[in-house]
Symmetry: D3
């Protein structure tokens, strides 16, 4: 294939030190020129949906900071991102802190704008409640539900909390109810930890979602899990939602509800690379990075790096 003309390129870190300059994702240009972009990286600095420890509103800034050490070529996927796709740091979608409904309207509108431009959205949370308006926006433009590839310690399929519908424990209940995802092509990976009741996961299962729990993933291993997820998605247009607490608390201390018994970054990188390669990737969010409790920025770095794998697989698809 002839080399495409790539509009947006990052600063060269062999010439300009990586700690220099205004911080954008991976030192890419910042702007709103969607027309020249293949992928738009954007933040949704919103944590009003947090049930325990807030602060994910500072997630996008932390991920941008950490991403400055990322380089263009990804060995895991054998692709040079910036030679194959044009990626833009689109800035943040403004929200209304303290107000769920107002914010959801704004987040959905922002997502619609990106998708309407034919650009693949790559969002940085914020808490997990943002995935609901993001999926609303995505499916509104695409006209049909998507397969969901969901990495998380928690299923987030509770119907309500404290008597209200929306918070970061409920997005996938509502995504199913609103027909935003295709349960039969969707899968949740890594779910673990104590639950409110024995049947807490029944809703999701009854609706047709597949769940690979944390202990199951520990038993199955990477290869089997990847195969399982790929079979499930089966080539459908797919949206990836990655809650950073999929990682073990030792690897991702900077999150609002850390969970032990989880996974390493090695495992997460392999799963992302293996599940996404060759897929019809429609978008991704990376949520729940909360820098106030992070340690040496390792959680933000993990988040930035997992987004990097997504970019690499999009790039590979366009190679």
């Amino acid at each position: 294939m002839p080399k495409r003309n790539i509009a947006y390129k990052p600063v060269d870190s062999l010439k300009s030190p990586r700690f220099s300059g205004v911080r954008t994702y991976m030192r890419l240009p910042h702007g709103t020129g969607l027309e020249k972009a293949d992928v738009a990286v954007f933040g949704v600095p919103f944590d009003t949906g947090t049930s325990f420890c807030p602060g994910a509103r500072f997630g996008p800034a932390a991920i941008r900071d950490a991403s400055s050490i990322l380089k263009p070529y990804c060995p895991l996927t054998d692709v040079n991102i910036v030679e194959n796709i044009s990626v833009l740091d689109y800035g943040d979608i403004d929200t209304v802190p303290g107000y769920m409904d107002d914010s959801f309207v704004k987040i959905e509108a922002g997502m619609v704008k990106i998708c309407e431009a034919g650009v693949i959205p790559l969002g940085m949370g914020g808490d997990h409640s943002i995935t609901l308006p993001l999926l609303r926006g995505l499916t509104k433009v695409h006209g049909e539900p998507v397969a969901l590839l969901h990495f998380d310690a928690h299923s987030d399929t509770i119907s309500d909390y404290f008597g209200r519908d929306y918070n970061h424990g409920t997005p996938f209940y509502w995504a199913i109810e609103e027909g935003l995802i295709k349960p039969e092509h969707s899968i949740q990976v890594g779910i673990r930890g104590p639950l409110y009741t024995k049947d807490a996961l029944d809703y999701a299962k009854n609706k047709g979602l597949e769940i690979i729990t944390g202990p199951q993933l520990h038993d199955l291993g990477l290869r089997e899990t990847i195969k399982c997820a790929r079979d499930r998605i089966n080539g459908q247009p797919v949206y990836v939602s990655f809650d950073i607490d999929f990682l073990d608390a030792a690897y991702a201390p900077g999150t609002g509800t850390p969970e032990i018994g989880g996974f390493t970054t090695h495992q997460a990188l392999q799963l992302m690379a293996g599940c996404c390669v060759g897929m019809n990737l429609k978008g991704m969010d990376l949520v729940e990075v909360m820098p106030a409790q992070d340690n040496a920025g390792i959680t933000a770095l993990a988040g930035a790096s997992l987004m990097h794998i997504f970019l690499a697989q999009v790039a590979k698809g366009l190679e």
Copy 2:
């Protein structure tokens, strides 16, 4: 005066180490038996109204932790608190994180319950938005507005933020609008830092509030400021609202919008003691302690200690 029978007494820290036991304010009993209490200490772990850095929902827990080193006798006011009043740790008022309106209803209801029992409320925030429902509850029971003694770096009299009425920058706008406070007997002390516009403080002044700015307080000194505040309150039933960012950021790093150019804990203790002595104290809140950014717990300790002065002045009034 014959010694009153004091129902609630703290654990004796010369016998039981101060780091021992379930944490309540000042190691006082925890329960809901308002009928035997003169003052009820309670938490409002709510930070949905935060415009910048959230986490004040963990304020009550942090203040309780820090308060375990407080002792009964207060030299500044020359009174032994626990020999003169019965203080109960009433626990926390539950809120609905992420939902302002639902939470305000619950906070007001909780306040009403305490006030109806004839008990003096001493609340731990939480962000400053909670003062509005607390004042609603207080005045509902008392049947009339109160004088306000307000220590803060910010006036919090903006009418709206992001297109919505309630957050931690607006409580006193609405308290004035709803007739919860008597502006002519109210005073704001310590207001400082850049403003949105030159006339940002005009609303409050036009409504009759007195404002002693930070620089003015630095010039006037403690004695003059105390005199000024006492003249203003003039014996009216008074409610104290203490935002911990009245303190300089070096003294109170653990808060959501730290402000430099502020005051020392020595100054704050003297002001609280000097302004409150002999006053008709109807209640107090101590807000905006955010432990995620605190340093060695010094912000929480300052908060706990300023509440201690309030208790001492209540105790002195009953001596």
Copy 3:
């Protein structure tokens, strides 16, 4: 089996936010009513026995804080704790900081009280020296030594330190000498790191204790290790002592003598669940959580979660 009447139930975290209220273990009731409890969770905030970095006296408070996000149903063991057993937060046993002997008397007396009430003790340290008086109290009531299931990086079977008998490196030397445990049914798991001498572990082995070192556990794997421990215990009444430094320093930075080359929380959860199921569990302690060096509370969370597994296996036994 007909449902038992459960006296103590935690606050419902779907109704009351998990960051709300005075902090008890798992949001359970706090009190001294042992007669209605199956298990009593209690703290022993004592670190006078620490040879390197002190601060474990704040362990119980940190574990209580972290435990507020634990939910009732444990998938690893397939049991709902709070529907099957009544668990009480019994508060802390007061000690005399700086005085080993005085403190040991108090800790033993506190343990006797719990055991005499027929309640299973679940203690939170505190440094590991507390296990000696806890075992003294337990065996005094039960009238015979117990099997010991001991997870740790260190064998803690040195006879003396700095010329004195008791500190956190010696409890199991004295437990053996005093006949508090049955060496032939006891096992130490995870012992690793440099030693004072090559024969540092000989005392324990000569007395009949089995030791699975860290490297051996890495080689054996979880299944074999569990089998080995169960064979060893062989149905005897068993006491579990879990030193949090069994976990690798990356998973448990908040401890006084962190040790590298250790284990993940996934491994620890599986080992606890696998070794304890169906056993005659007489009590447990979880020691050496030291929050001053913890990171995002992950060490305290690990400790709280491992206690949760113990509760689950007790509950399963009574199902």
Copy 4:
């Protein structure tokens, strides 16, 4: 005076939350369009000149983060910055980490570019060594030396360190030697702490610099010190160099060589406002903010706020 047309305005924080968006100084536009700017804020992320604790290369990023809570109107100076001047975030000047000479060439060239455009430079360090190439660039364009208003704990007039000329302890030795400043109109304020020798300050004094030591400033008070500095500068074109360790270590822990016995942010704000009002301000740098050791960002916030005063006084001059 008719309102000028202001090209660059910050985002409105009453509409867009202050934690939203790519981080620039005070949420101002980022770009290189000097022709529409009155002042260019820029970073010099360089700490190769540090003799003790490095990390000031992350100072510009930290100051940008902290500055997002600054508002347009400055009460201390009674001026609305953004209504009176056009301020641009010009990004960072790239340097060559590890190489003093190469970096000095780049820093000087960057400064020349800004000054040649007729724009007032407002630089964020970096360590204090950067002031030498900044002064070289400034005077190259202006054609003559400037008066120096220097706030610092250290005089930085040592001739060499470890056998080499340039590091952050030597810039003013070389500025004098190279004729970049007018000693007779220059003043150093706040110098304190132990020295290498009794006559360590003699070079500066012999060259005609005035030094108000820390203890002298504590004695003189703000008003006298301001008068003294203004007399000294006497209307000459002046460059302000503010080392954040002028502040006491409690107010500025985030710096490479913190010094106790220093000053509060209240004092610093008053001094900056009082010394700069009505002066012929040619430029400023704010150096030595080192976020790795900062506490809740208070050092970066102090730095951002002191730059704000400079902007305000520039704005006032153009009102």
Copy 5:
């Protein structure tokens, strides 16, 4: 006076970077050669006497680290330390962690050894309980009690805690009872904060100690307080005991029982310099630096700097 021959000199920090080498106090030689020393700096890493937050056992290491940035000439006292006296880092006195009595014997013995060599002791704590055995050792050698100059937030004259005589709240009760100090020439400065009872300070006062409380010091100012202390000491051989919590919690967060409403490092430096000049200085301890809660090492730096003033005044006496 002819220059004395100074045996021990620090490394030259203009030649060898201050972060280089094994850490001793002020980069002085480490050894046991007391015969060539005028002053011996030594650590007492002991915190078994701590009633709240332990960790002062790491105080000496933290002070040594911080002291590497101290330079030889002290402007406040106008003396070059290393040109006038020979100072040795004598290392630490070993103690028995967890055992008060054993440790006191060792500390006293270590102190006797230093004093018998005719060397002035300058000890680094450790918690304040160490001052009792240090005074025992000092007076044993000197043959008579000393005047005490005591800076602290707490009087430490309680007779017992938790039923035992010795901990860090009781050293001066026992120093008086054992006749180690001359109360009529002794003074406590800075005492503040809540007390157990109104008459908590009566014991000390009845024994003839003078107490300048924190609020009194705030009122009197530095000059009056210095005069008062000097009158009190009146030329008697004097021992200085400086508890770092004399400083406000914002200036000294790294301590076991931080206290608000306290003093700045500027005030502390002036008081130390003013009280000690020309006095018959017999020794000093600087206690309660606890690095686990310190912030950027500012507490340790303050401690190291206050010791520096003591050295300077000793040097001045020998000039």
Copy 6:
């Protein structure tokens, strides 16, 4: 073999607490008496070569602090270090912060001195740039190049950065160019993460170096990797260079360019022990420990422990 006479022995930590005394590596004697040493531990506190986050100049101090809990007998290698070899803490090699070339001269000279004394060098970084002058010094004395066993996340074989030859990304490019190592007997293990270009590793491979990437190591497992490395080295005199970022960021947060997807300390210990046993060990460096971002000292502890394995294998070779 008859026991050798060991000149240098560490303090006995069962008699003197491990937190006591001036900090040297493993509590060994500090001095320059190379003639009685088998191995010299020394620091190179230099981070001028850092391309991202500086602070490794404090690495030696941090490793010394952490090493105080290491004991003499190493179970992994079954050898008692201090009974078999004499190890000296030789202090630090002074450098010229901010000047690469000057520093390289000093580092090389220091290395020559150690090697000429026939002592095995064990260096603590500092950033990875120091390995170049260390190898220069080593080969100058030994007269021929060495095999290289290199653990790292990064290959560090870039030819230049920012237009200059030397920084911490280039040492092995120059080591190959200068003929300091034998590529055909050298191996790099653990290389991972994004690269500047697809062929970034080609230079090293073309020169004959073997590279086992991170993912390859994850696949191969420990046994195969050890075999591969041993085959490669094949008995040649070998120098070990261990960059702490070989470890995953969760295990080594305290480093300048943390990398996720890496290895555990268990894996690192096994690899070091397995690769080094029986080898002709000529020296080692452990680099890139940066305490400012470390967490509870776990990175420094890992570094100290990996050095301990090296010492053990040297000791075993002399047993």
